[in-house]
């Protein structure tokens, strides 16, 4: 168990982060090269102003028409994504490990708050899964990979929640937590989870086309 822990907490963590970062850089370059090859005219109307205007608008809940027409989805997706990104970076137990490994530390969430945020992420995954079953237009676009990605996303949070609440004894749940987090990180560049990076480009493109070409708003 100790050897497994050391391996997972050490080399495997580095591998996961390396795949995550290099994979996303690769994806970014791949998209830019593809656009340059097939639709280079796009670069003629890409605009910082309209890109940032669109991104800024869509970052604010209820600031766009789409957010206003689906209020439940809006609340769910903002709460989910906020907790998904903030919790792992600011949860105390992660900060303790970074401090011990590299001597860097920053402000930590109280454990009780991180606990609630973890539940929000898990509930969000269940909500999105339920939506794919209940809403006909979404079900039409759904296949098994969508549920797999939701399970992949929920896994580190479910195992983290169970480890924190000491539902099982021993190191097993924490090791499962670490491995599921690493698998999730490494999977991001190679699955639709890459919207973590490319979603911003899509938004920038939409903002630029609507603002610069159609002379309209995309929100």
């Amino acid at each position: 168990m100790h050897a497994l822990y050391e391996w997972v907490a050490g080399p495997l963590t580095w591998v996961a982060f390396a795949v995550f970062v290099i994979g996303l850089v690769f994806r970014l370059v791949q998209v830019l090269v593809m656009v340059r090859k097939t639709e280079p005219f796009i670069f003629t109307y890409m605009s910082w102003k309209f890109s940032l205007r669109s991104i800024g608008r869509w970052l604010v809940p209820f600031a766009t028409l789409r957010w206003r027409t689906s209020p439940v989805m809006t609340v769910a997706t903002f709460a989910f994504h906020l907790c998904l990104l903030v919790t792992p970076v600011f949860v105390l137990s992660h900060i303790v490990l970074w401090d011990e490994a590299w001597g860097v530390q920053w402000w930590a969430l109280p454990d009780a708050v991180a606990d609630v945020m973890t539940v929000v992420v898990i509930a969000g995954c269940l909500f999105f899964a339920g939506r794919r079953i209940v809403r006909r237009e979404v079900r039409f676009l759904t296949d098994a990979s969508d549920y797999f990605l939701l399970a992949l996303t929920a896994a580190p949070f479910v195992t983290g929640f169970l480890a924190y609440h000491q539902v099982t004894q021993g190191a097993g749940m924490t090791i499962a937590h670490m491995i599921s987090g690493q698998v999730l990180l490494a999977a991001i560049p190679f699955t639709r989870l890459r919207h973590m990076l490319l979603g911003w480009l899509t938004r920038a493109y939409m903002g630029s086309e609507f603002g610069g070409v159609r002379r309209a708003r995309d929100y």
Binding site: H2, A3, Y5, E6, L92, S93, V96, D99, E100, G103, P110, D111, A163, Y164, H165, Q166, G170, A171, M173, T174, I175
Partner: protein
């Protein structure tokens, strides 16, 4: 008769003192009242049982004393001091803050020895 009662009282008093002294010495957890807002329960640590199980007889492994150059004394130990007497809440130069010192001592040794708990919940057990 008076002498017998006196002896009896002395034995009783002695027993109470011994129980009190050893009761206090039998450490069960690493107290966390030094930390302003502890988020986890104190780490379980039964001092005597731990050292018997681990066959750890060298007190200086944990109760160490370092000089200003960061060299550990090979003759002086610090059982008469609290860890927090030296270790502050934050790192100070080469001296780790109290939390890091506890974690590095316990977890570090457990990893080296391939024995004992290494994850959060294994030590910070909820009551």
């Amino acid at each position: 008769m008076k002498i017998k009662i006196g002896i009896l009282l002395a034995v009783l008093l002695g027993s109470v003192l011994v129980v009190l002294a050893f009761g206090q010495y039998e450490m069960q957890v690493v107290e966390n009242y030094y930390f302003p807002n502890p988020q986890r329960p104190p780490a379980v640590f039964e001092h005597d049982r731990h050292n018997e199980t681990a066959e750890l007889w060298d007190c200086m492994i944990c109760h160490h004393v370092y000089d200003e150059q960061g060299v550990q004394s090979d003759w002086e130990s610090s059982e008469d001091q609290a860890c927090a007497d030296c270790h502050g809440l934050e790192d100070q130069g080469g001296m780790p803050g109290l939390r890091k010192a506890f974690h590095q001592s316990c977890k570090g040794c457990h990893l080296t020895e391939r024995k004992g708990p290494v994850t959060c919940a294994e030590c910070h057990v909820k009551p």
